[in-house]
Symmetry: C2
Subunit: 340 residues, 2 copies
Amino acid sequence: MKRKVTLKQIAKELDVSISTVSKSLRNSLEISEDTRQKVQAFAKLYNYKPNNIALSLKNKKTKTICIIIPEIIHHFFATVISGVEHIANENGYNVLVCLSDESFDKEVINMEMLANGSIDGFIMSLSKETQSKKDFHHIVEVINQGMPVVMFDRVTNDILCDKIIIDDEHAAYNATQYLIDKGLKNVALITTIDYVSVGKLRTDGYKKALKNNDLIVDESLILKIEDIDNFEPQIEELLKTKKINAVFAVNEIFAATTIKLAHKLNIKVPEQLSIIGFTDGIISKYSTPGITTVSQNGVKMGEKAAKMLIERLESEENEEEEHYRTEVIETELVERDSTL
Amino acid sequence: MKRKVTLKQIAKELDVSISTVSKSLRNSLEISEDTRQKVQAFAKLYNYKPNNIALSLKNKKTKTICIIIPEIIHHFFATVISGVEHIANENGYNVLVCLSDESFDKEVINMEMLANGSIDGFIMSLSKETQSKKDFHHIVEVINQGMPVVMFDRVTNDILCDKIIIDDEHAAYNATQYLIDKGLKNVALITTIDYVSVGKLRTDGYKKALKNNDLIVDESLILKIEDIDNFEPQIEELLKTKKINAVFAVNEIFAATTIKLAHKLNIKVPEQLSIIGFTDGIISKYSTPGITTVSQNGVKMGEKAAKMLIERLESEENEEEEHYRTEVIETELVERDSTL
DNA sequence: CTGAAAGCGCTTACAG
DNA sequence: CTGAAAGCGCTTACAG
């Protein structure tokens, strides 16, 4: 086992100073051609690579960004990571992935831990608990320290920073309108509790679409799921007792489950029941029938977020003008076989 | 914007030495109760947190581990990350996630980049390209430097290190036997090309099961998928032209696609065709019908891998005895509705 | 009880 | 052209 070689060791071996070695390796013209060659050859032979930590300490930047997501199991977040990775790597950055598990405490701990020099900036989507508590002090603190933060998807107006979102309300409006245009008037909504920002917005879009088409918003057709581990009975109840011919689900798990239950209850999809989901993930794609869905374009969100963050990191000079941007990513309706 | 406060600044403010501040904050008995109190109060007020990078440099450990996976989009890998995160956080480690995108070069670059002090150890699953090239020099190098590596799932015998695997052959054997026990004699296999280690092993298990039941291995019923982006026609061809009543698919994407195509060809699942997949991911769970599958238990693999790595990191003293272990994680057959 | 010094591995302004 | 010194932020053995 040969441990990593350092400048010091090379200097000793070659009987020159550490400065000379360092400069030679960086090809400084200050050093004679001869010495440079010698040092470089030696370094290559011993497979010298500068120690990243030492560089980070010296440069006060780590070339690492952290993405904090609530859950990796949600395919949408996995696609965002993939987008972030892509752009980060292209620009020489590493990506640290942290999971908040939808917990406020874990989010806080992660941020406090990493804000102490480990990383250069954050990309994050708020945990459910944070959204319900509306306590964002940890984020404010980090930003006040001068560390840039880019929020995506689950964001809040209470924080000033760069943001990447989709127009959730508009996308939901369009999805609902799509169903109405097919002649489906009894559209149920399966959504999350209101404090999840995107759930709320999608609900608003759904309602607005109904109203604009002179349809009545029947609150009994709106299912707000609280417990992600036990919601099947509620959906089954809805399908059994309500007269509906379409369902707009706020994520793909709700959509896929609805198909499963419809199948069980002998309701034909899409003939008797049309279903639209949200998030174009693998479930929607590989489900039978394939699920018509609003594509959130997670990869693109991740790429944009990484771009914004890196831009801010690399232009840190002009700190005076803190012109925060909110970028809205286009969504599109992917038509498959779960709708008429 | 208040920048992070350092020991130096505190020392200056309080008119003591940096050493005194450092010791006070670590509650050293060397320092008078009085001074300690004063320093601690001040540090708290200014929300002092030690700089992680400086600590890393000093301690020669970063408390960060890196997991390199071929693809985050595969749900299995996402679950592994989740397991790794869990154990890592519990032990005060951060997790850096790197994607190789199934590319040898990206794998090499990532490892070389991070092996220079940025992290303490690796957890990895080989990229397809690496497996086909059989070039593992980058991994050998890292290990020789004294950095521990734990491999999982896609491993190789050419490298000596800790490993976490499942008994792929055995699991495939059982899945095939399960189908045979249902009276299904014409079992097709949809697998990957042989150089993917797990694909090969699962194929072996399938063949062995057939043989042990005195059934003939018909190579024309074995579909080896090379191009992950365009395999539907091949499966459709298989379903159309071959007399089969069961399919064993080596991952859940192949399984779900088979269901989709069966549906299209009006073949009833499971009445006319039973299907078993591999990897108990969200596709299998939310598909209609739910897919019977071999559960790989990614979370557990991740947890085990993290445990092994951290153990090795924290017991680095006894370097002489390099007793590498290979841990085999139990799999189980999750019965759902895609099989008789 | 307090502090100066050395050191982790590097870079760079400054002397010579 | 080369090297000693200072410094990034911290810790700790050693003096006093």
